[in-house]
C-alpha cells in the first residue's frame, strides 16, 4: 500500500498570547487524521472548533505544538509543497486582476507566459468568470472572489487539495456547478482532498469519508463516517437516495450535540 497523502498523529495546537503568555488556548489536541492518496475526506464541526487550524497544520503553515505530520510518508518540514490550499479568508492579491491572480502560481512555477494565460483563462471560464478576467479583486463580488481563489488553487493541479469552506459564499446552483467541477478533477486525477464545509449535504455528497470534530477547546475527531455511496455521483441527484438520508441523520445527530455543548459551555463560563 502507498503511504497516505496526509497523516496527522497526535497533533495539538496551542495558541499563546505573546503579550500575556499565561493566556493560552488549546484549539485542537490529540488529533489523528489520515487522508489516503486519492481519498476525498471532509471535515465538519462546530464553528470555531479548529478546522482551519488543522488545515494550516496540513499545509505546513502552522507547526503543531505536539504531534507529527507526514505527507506521503515523509515528515513535513516547512511548507507542504505538494498541496494546494484554498483559504477561508480572502487571499487574492489585490494588485492583480482575476486572470493574473489565477496565473500567479503558474508564473511562480516558471510556466511560459502564453501557456499560463491560456490555462488560467480556461479555469476562469470553468468557475464562471470568463468575462471578468480583467477585474481587480475590489471590483468583484464576494462569490466571484471565492471562485477566482478556487481557480487559482486548482489551476496548479496539486497532488493534495486543501479547501476551507470553498463554496459557502455561492448560490446553490453555482455551488453545484463548482462541486461537480471539483469532483471531476478529483476523479480524473485521483487527488487527495481535505475539505472543510458546514454543509452536511455537500460533505456527504462529495466525500469518501466525513470526519466530525468535537466542540473546542481541545477539539478532536469524535466520529468518522465512511460514505459508501457509489461513484460517480452527481451532487444534486445523490441527495435524494435513502443511504444519503441515513448518513445525514447519523452525522447530524453527532454534530448537533457538539454544537449545543459548545454553546452551553460558553454561556456558563462567561
Amino acid at each position: 500500500m502507498t503511504a497516505p497523502a496526509i497523516e496527522l498523529q497526535g497533533v495539538a495546537c496551542t495558541f499563546v498570547d505573546k503579550h500575556n503568555p499565561a493566556q493560552r488556548y488549546t484549539a485542537v489536541s490529540q488529533v489523528d487524521l489520515t487522508v489516503g492518496a486519492g481519498e476525498f475526506v471532509s471535515v465538519v464541526g462546530p464553528t470555531g472548533c479548529g478546522k482551519s487550524t488543522l488545515l494550516n497544520v496540513a499545509a505546513g503553515l502552522l507547526e503543531p505544538s505536539e504531534g507529527s505530520v507526514r505527507i506521503f510518508g515523509e515528515a513535513l518540514q516547512g511548507l507542504n509543497r505538494r498541496a494546494g490550499y484554498m483559504f477561508q479568508a480572502e487571499s487574492l492579491m489585490p494588485w492583480r486582476t482575476a486572470l493574473a491572480n489565477v496565473m500567479a502560481g503558474l508564473q511562480f512555477r516558471g510556466v511560459a507566459e502564453s501557456d499560463a494565460r491560456a490555462q488560467a483563462g480556461d479555469w476562469l471560464r470553468r468557475v464562471g468568470l470568463g468575462a471578468f478576467g480583467d477585474r481587480y479583486p475590489h471590483q468583484m463580488s464576494g462569490g466571484m472572489r471565492k471562485r477566482a481563489s478556487l481557480a487559482q488553487t486548482l489551476v496548479l493541479d496539486p497532488d493534495i487539495i486543501l479547501m476551507d469552506e470553498p463554496f459557502s459564499a455561492l448560490d446553490i446552483q453555482t455551488r453545484q456547478l463548482m462541486e461537480n467541477e471539483v469532483l471531476a478533477l478529483w476523479q480524473g486525477k485521483k487527488k487527495a482532498v481535505l475539505f472543510i464545509t458546514h454543509d452536511l449535504d455537500e460533505a456527504i455528497a462529495m466525500s469518501d469519508r466525513v470526519v466530525v470534530l468535537s466542540a473546542g477547546p481541545a477539539s478532536r475527531p469524535i466520529g468518522e463516517f465512511t460514505i459508501d455511496i457509489e461513484r460517480p455521483r452527481d451532487v444534486a441527484e445523490v441527495k435524494t437516495t435513502p443511504r444519503f438520508l441515513e448518513l445525514h441523520a447519523a452525522i447530524w445527530d453527532e454534530l448537533r450535540g457538539e454544537v449545543l455543548k459548545g454553546y452551553q459551555q460558553q454561556l456558563q463560563k462567561a
Binding site: 483559504f87 492579491m93 500567479a104 502560481g105 508564473q107 511562480f108 475590489h138
Partner: protein
C-alpha cells in the same frame, strides 16, 4: 456665489493660482519698504533684508534664465546631484528595507546601528564626505543619499512587515520562491509605503544637494546661494530657493505619475468608481 467658486475639481487650479498670487502679494506688501508700516521690525528695510522682495527676486530669476542665461550650468549640476541622490538613496533604502524586513535576525542585530546612523548630524560629517567623495558632485550626492536612504528605509521596512499574512501564506502555497515573494507580494503590497516615503524624499534630496553645495563647492545653485549670502543679497538667495522649489515640484509630479500608474489596482477613495 460661494457655490460658484467653491473648491471643486474644475476650480481647483484657479484656487491654487489664487493662493499663489495672494502669497506673493502678501510677501510684496510685507517687504516693500513703505507699503505698510513695519510692525515686526523697527525699520522698514528689515523685512526686505530677511525675506527679499518678490519683484527683485523675479527680476533675478529672469536674469538667470533669459538676460544672462548663466544659471543653466549651475542648475544642471544641482539637478544631477539631486536625481542621483534620490535614485541611489531610494534604491538603497528599498533594498536595505526589504532585506532587513525579511531577515528578522539581521534586523534585530543591525536595527540600533541604523537608528544611530539616522540620528547622526550629517552636516558635521560633511568634511568626511569631502575626503571620501571629493569636492565635486560625489560628496553632495552622498549627503543627499544619507537623507533619502533612511526615510525610504524605515518605510519599506515597516511596509513589508504589514503585508497581509493571508495573502503571503497564499502566495507561498502557490509556490512562490523567496525572490518571487519579494517581487510579487512584498513589493506590490508595500508600494504605497514606498511612495509615501518617496514624496518626502524628493524634497530632502534637493535639500541634500543644496546643503552639500553650500558647505563646499564651486558650482551649483547652492553655490550661488552661498555666494549671495556672503554679500547679503537675500533676493538672489530667495530666487535660488524658488527655482529649486519649482524643480522639486516637477520631480514630485513625476513620482506621483508613476505612483498613479502602479497603484491602479487600488479602490478609489470615493466608494469605487460609480458613475
Amino acid at each position: 456665489m460661494w457655490n460658484l467658486i467653491k473648491p471643486r475639481r474644475a476650480t481647483l487650479r484657479l484656487w491654487q493660482l489664487g493662493l499663489l498670487v495672494l502669497l506673493f502679494v502678501f510677501w510684496h506688501a510685507m517687504t516693500k519698504p513703505g507699503v505698510i508700516p513695519p510692525f515686526m521690525f523697527d525699520n522698514d528695510q528689515q523685512a526686505a533684508f530677511f525675506f527679499g522682495e518678490p519683484i527683485k527676486i523675479f527680476a533675478r530669476i529672469w536674469d538667470w534664465f533669459v538676460t544672462d542665461a548663466d544659471i543653466y550650468r549651475h542648475l544642471w549640476i544641482t539637478l544631477a546631484e539631486t536625481v542621483l541622490a534620490f535614485a541611489i538613496g531610494a534604491a538603497g533604502g528599498l533594498a536595505g528595507g526589504l532585506w532587513l524586513a525579511l531577515s528578522p535576525m539581521a534586523s534585530a542585530i543591525l536595527e540600533p546601528y541604523i537608528k544611530a546612523l539616522n540620528a547622526m548630524p550629517r552636516i558635521i560629517l560633511a568634511p568626511i564626505f569631502a575626503v571620501w567623495f571629493g569636492l565635486g558632485i560625489g560628496s553632495k550626492v552622498a549627503l543627499g543619499v544619507t537623507l533619502v536612504f533612511f526615510i525610504v528605509f524605515f518605510n519599506v521596512y515597516q511596509g513589508v512587515r504589514e503585508v497581509s499574512p493571508v495573502i503571503l501564506a497564499n502566495a507561498r502555497m502557490l509556490g512562490a520562491s523567496q525572490r518571487q515573494l519579494l517581487r510579487h507580494v512584498y513589493l506590490p503590497s508595500a508600494t504605497s509605503w514606498v511612495f509615501s516615503s518617496l514624496h518626502t524624499s524628493v524634497g530632502l534630496a534637493f535639500v541634500g544637494a543644496v546643503v552639500g553645495e553650500y558647505l563646499g563647492s564651486s558650482a551649483g545653485v547652492g553655490y550661488l546661494i552661498l555666494q549671495a549670502e556672503g554679500s547679503f543679497d537675500i533676493n538672489t538667495v530667495m530666487a535660488g530657493i524658488l527655482v529649486l522649489t519649482a524643480f522639486a515640484l516637477a520631480l514630485d509630479a513625476l513620482v506621483g505619475r508613476i505612483e498613479r500608474r502602479l497603484m491602479r489596482w487600488q479602490p478609489q477613495a470615493d466608494g469605487g468608481g460609480k458613475l
